[in-house]
């Protein structure tokens, strides 16, 4: 009943049809997208590293997070301290470091798209203390227009662009890293 009433009120109220504009392609920069991506991500508080500089991801994680007690990852090259397939979302509160695949990077804002299938649990990239993403260097586009052309936002039930560590400036505009979700974001370019 409400629906019908609301829709008919909108129908009566709406203005005459105005045309839908086309979204044109926007010129991109000369520099390689991965270079811009690195600079932008660093500005948002992310750490961007080259996977080639380390002896494998597992080694790199142990080097970067020597204190970590619980590492969670669905990736074959990382030993997961928690069985992701057989746990409840709330069990993930103990996770110190989550290592996941990112599908696509966006140069203009340092964001990375994570698909639902790569998270295993939707809450994992948030509830973990630290988030580590692996991103293929050739999967970085310049801007959000290109990004939305490449991904399928309704492929899974949930999908995420993450562009840095959780942060807030709600107390006197002072920037604090580590609000409610992950305290840090490290991106390994592979």
């Amino acid at each position: 009943m409400s629906k019908k009433k609301m829709l008919s009120a909108i129908k009566t109220a709406k203005p005459p049809l105005s045309s839908m504009p086309a979204v044109p392609p926007f010129p991109t920069e000369q520099r390689p997208a991965s270079e811009i991506f690195g600079a932008q991500a660093a500005q948002s508080g992310s750490r961007v590293l080259l996977a080639a500089d380390f002896d494998g991801i597992s080694q790199a994680i142990h080097f970067l997070y020597p204190q970590a007690r619980c590492i969670a990852s669905p990736l074959p090259q990382v030993t997961s301290g928690i069985e992701l397939k057989n746990c409840e979302p709330s069990d993930l509160q103990a996770v110190d470091v989550a290592v996941l695949n990112g599908q696509l990077g966006v140069a203009e804002n340092g964001a990375v798209w994570i698909a639902e299938e790569d998270m295993v649990h939707r809450v994992l990239p948030f509830i973990t203390q630290h988030l580590v993403l692996l991103l293929p260097q050739d999967q970085i586009v310049y801007n959000m227009h290109e990004a939305y052309q490449q991904i399928t936002i309704d492929e899974g039930g949930f999908g995420l662009f993450v562009a840095g560590p959780s942060k807030t400036a709600d107390i006197e505009q002072s920037l604090v890293i580590g609000a409610q979700a992950a305290r840090s974001l490290t991106i390994f370019l592979t």
Binding site: I10, A13, H145, T168, A182
Partner: protein
Amino acid sequence: MKAHPIKAAAFLQNEARADWHDESLWFVRAKRDKAAHEIPEWEQLRELASQIKDHTLSRLDDYLEDFERHALENGVQVHWAEDAAAHNRIIQSILKKHRARRVVKSKSMLTEECQLNAYLEQHDIEVVDTDLGERIIQMRGEPPSHIVMPAIHLKKEEVGQLFHEQLRTEKGATDPKYLTEAARQHLRHSFLKADAAITGVNFAIAETGGVVVCTNEGNADMGTHLARVQIHCMGIEKIIPQTKHLGVFTRLLARSATGQPSTIYTSHYHRPRPGAAMHIVIVDNGRSKQLSRPDFRNSLKCIRCGACINTCPIYRRSGGHSYGSTVPGPIGSILTPGLDLKKYSSLPFASTLCGSCSDVCPVKIDIHEQLYRWRQIITREGHLPRTKKWVMKIAGSILSRPGWYEQAGKTARRLLRGLPRILVYAPLNIWGKGRELPPPPRQSFREWYRKNREE
């Protein structure tokens, strides 16, 4: 409700604090400028965003139906609420059905507008706001003073004292990092206990039936992915037609709001996770009425970035609470008169009509022109305060008669030079309250022109 000037005067009592508030907001405005200037196609994006919204409003009923159909196909339950009361009832019934007693909520101006928290608490449901700024003002029992930075009016000493009392942080501690950490620990506890999570919606995509929620803290997702039930509340104007339009709006939103190139989290929700439920509540609450007003309908294009608020010289020097409406500042002053003209009759006058709001608006709403149009309606309907009405009448008759105008100017110039301060700034001179009159010139422009033409 007390008129805006009365509450603004109270805010200005503490001059140092008013200056601090002014500077905090201007700092955000400056960050916005820097971010906008880094995008060569910025103006083109604003124009596009504006046209996409115009188009969407002109087919809003169709897009809402598309949206609902696709959401239902995705296994999402969709509800329609004509007004705030219906919205609150629907949410309470969803919670009841799922036997949910503990709720975490991320920032949503719509639930604020509907006074959802108070309603749910009356029905014995515990609601915890999880955005840090929102949690702070919830603890203080206050409304937000800004739509993006709800606690922008508070000093860290006040937050420190509040947390000491309610979260047992150390007495006298004021370090934002320490206080944020205390809130993190406290909120993690709430997230893990919650039965249901409520969020607002930034964008709802008609062609996919999904909703997008943007946060910096990640609090919306900490809620939705841990609780058994997720509820997203959206006004009818949140619809955009297609996924590709997200490219335009996500590029504009965070840059306009805080000067960031993107919010930290841009979450796309399409289906409930296995074993959980997902609901979307679509709310009108006066919006279709606003849509029917040709002069004001494009206020519905607003994406709630807050840029107009940060730039507004009146907001910066009067504070969000002086507006008495959920959405303060210039955008609030054109939205709320449509809900209750008499109650909010002072808001369209809380502006210098400088037009800065329209200049920064990412969807090109003609905010200052709408403020001016509301003023005319308010005057016609007789809601103008008596002093203002008479001053306007007198000014009107003088300004429309060149002879009177010339004579009045002459008299004023002579009197202002001769009269003692106490008389010039007598209570009758409301313009001179807190303002210094410019020194009176020797002659008027007309006199000067006449003289110089003759020579």
